[in-house]
């Protein structure tokens, strides 16, 4: 199929080829909002097919960090290399990177004036210059994957939160991204809808998608993450496999945070 998720060579199940080229590399990245130092010396290398969960207290810079990866925010110092392309002020390159990187937002950010189907075909048509019919086939494929093909002709406002977030995931997948960014995808959802979205994400992880996910769903982290990152005050405080991270946190701040979140 021309529009199936690209399976990353060498990434079968949960094992990741360590020699594969880095999907995302952040080297000595700093960022300021005016005087406020949001990101401090971020160093992070993510292999293809790797699943990263990022957690940390509110205001610690998690969103800012992943938004730097598709240049929704600009970093001021250091280097960010996404899929071999370095992010600079070159607008062309930024567009290239954005085509490779999908993003799912806390508040879905679906386009309310377009139907679910149109939400999913918009980028195919205007960015990839696909024909409408072809774009619709791709869209229906992914809407089926997130299990809501029957809602295709409704407007986002007519769907539940969980359904909207699944549409948002399908909308991103329609661009066949190599990397997916999730910024607290379940925290605006009613509890009974969290699972349907997490299940979709687990399915995606099982297919080998490179994922960076800001979330406080620790069950999800245990189930799919290769590494868990804990951030505080704009720094990566701790980074470890989920087992080690939850069983044996190294830093006092991590322990404190985990005790608050796991009650």
């Amino acid at each position: 199929m021309p529009f199936s998720v690209k399976l990353i060579d060498g990434s079968v199940g949960r094992s990741v080829d360590p020699k594969a080229e880095a999907a995302v590399q952040m080297i000595d990245v700093h960022k300021w909002y005016g005087e406020f130092h949001v990101l401090r010396d971020i160093n992070l290398s993510i292999r293809r097919g790797e699943r990263i969960v990022i957690c940390g207290p509110s205001g610690s810079g998690k969103s800012t960090m992943i938004r730097c990866i598709n240049r929704l925010e600009e970093h001021q110092k250091g280097r960010i290399i996404v899929d071999g392309t370095e992010l600079t002020n070159d607008l062309k390159r930024i567009d290239e990177v954005r085509r490779e990187v999908g993003m799912v937002f806390q508040h879905f950010n679906l386009f309310p004036h377009l139907t679910v189907l149109e939400n999913c075909t918009l980028a195919s048509i205007w960015v990839k210059k696909m024909r409408k019919k072809e774009a619709e086939e791709v869209a229906m494929h992914y809407l089926t994957r997130v299990k809501i093909p029957e809602q295709a002709n409704k407007y986002p406002g007519q769907l539940s939160g969980g359904q909207q977030q699944r549409v948002a995931i399908a909308r991103s997948l329609c661009m066949s991204p190599k990397i997916m960014l999730f910024d607290e995808p379940t925290s605006a959802l009613d509890p009974e809808m969290v699972k349907e979205v997490l299940d979709t994400m687990v399915g995606l992880a099982d297919e080998g998608m490179t994922m960076l996910c800001v979330t406080h769903e620790m069950g999800f982290a245990r189930q799919v993450a290769d590494r868990v990152i804990f951030m505080d005050y704009g720094q990566i405080v701790e980074m470890n496999t989920p087992d080690e991270f939850f069983r044996n946190p190294q830093h006092e701040r991590t322990r404190l945070f985990l005790s608050q979140i796991l009650h």
Partner: protein, 374 residues
Amino acid sequence: MTTASNLPLEPIADAGDNAVLALRPPARRKAPIAQVLFGTIGNTLLTLATAAILLAAVPRLIQWGILDSIWTATDGSACREASGACWAFLRAKFRQILFGIYPPDQQWRPLLAVTMLFCVILYSLPPRNWDRFLVFLWCIAVACFLVLMQGGVLGLTLVPTAYWGGLPVTLILAVSALGIGFPFGVILALGRRSALPVPRILSVGLIEVIRGLPLVSLLFMSSIMLPIMLPEGLTIDKLARAGVALTIFSAAYLAEVVRGGLQAIPEGQAEAARALGLSWVDTIRQVILPQALQKVIPPLTNTVIVMVKNTALVLVVGLFDLLSSGKAALADPSWPSPFAETYLFIAMIYFVICFGISRYSLYLERRAAAGQVR
């Protein structure tokens, strides 16, 4: 006026056996007419006052407009003797009112031009027709309009714009002021919200200067100052100068309306579009503007209607739009200048156009609301 207290209480539902399964919503009963008119002391007084005014005015209007009126007459003498309305004047003069001093034997041309413009406007109304072809169609239609009116080619005799008048002038001024003013207004609105200082300052400057000037002075300036500023030998048609002034004026006002809509769109919409890889232009065109415009349909309609009526101000620079053609027709000494009848006729034309715009905007609003129930 009715208040909730004087509406009869509705029984919620008959508590039948399976009433729990599916209850109908309580029927919304209208208050009986007597209660609307005489329900309270205030309403009673209002009703009586209105009735008194109607009783005084309506018979006199009927007397003037129908019983004593003159419908057929070849010249003004019959009208001079009658005490009622002189509708015969409109029959004799409607061509001059509609088409001004355009050569009478050539008046099929403005008639055809106006009819064509109305047809294109009608075709443009349903949103499903909004595509590239429509832009093309409008370019063709305006070109045809100008050729038909001006002539000088295709065996049509030349009629300079100084001889144009009436409805075609009003229509072409309104169409260009709004049709060209709207895209410029959008650009000004985007410029004003831009993060880049140069477009922002230019847009703010232009909008504020234009809004700070009365339209009349803008028309005078474009009609008197523009020829002075232009190099020797280069002249712009008087009608075109007025069109430019109206276009700039409407662009500034439309820009502020559109800006209001842009401000109402959450930042997340542009972020989602950018994250999908959409270019800035596509983000604006496909995501931001459609939503922004939907949100400002009522004030947008308001500005459009005001601009249609503002075209009447071109009379100050000596152009004959619908209103001033009517005035010119009244100057004929062989008729007894029936002002009321003529202005009623012109008012009716304006009303049909503006009321049509208003109903159309309601249709657009309802259509926009239909998709987005929350």
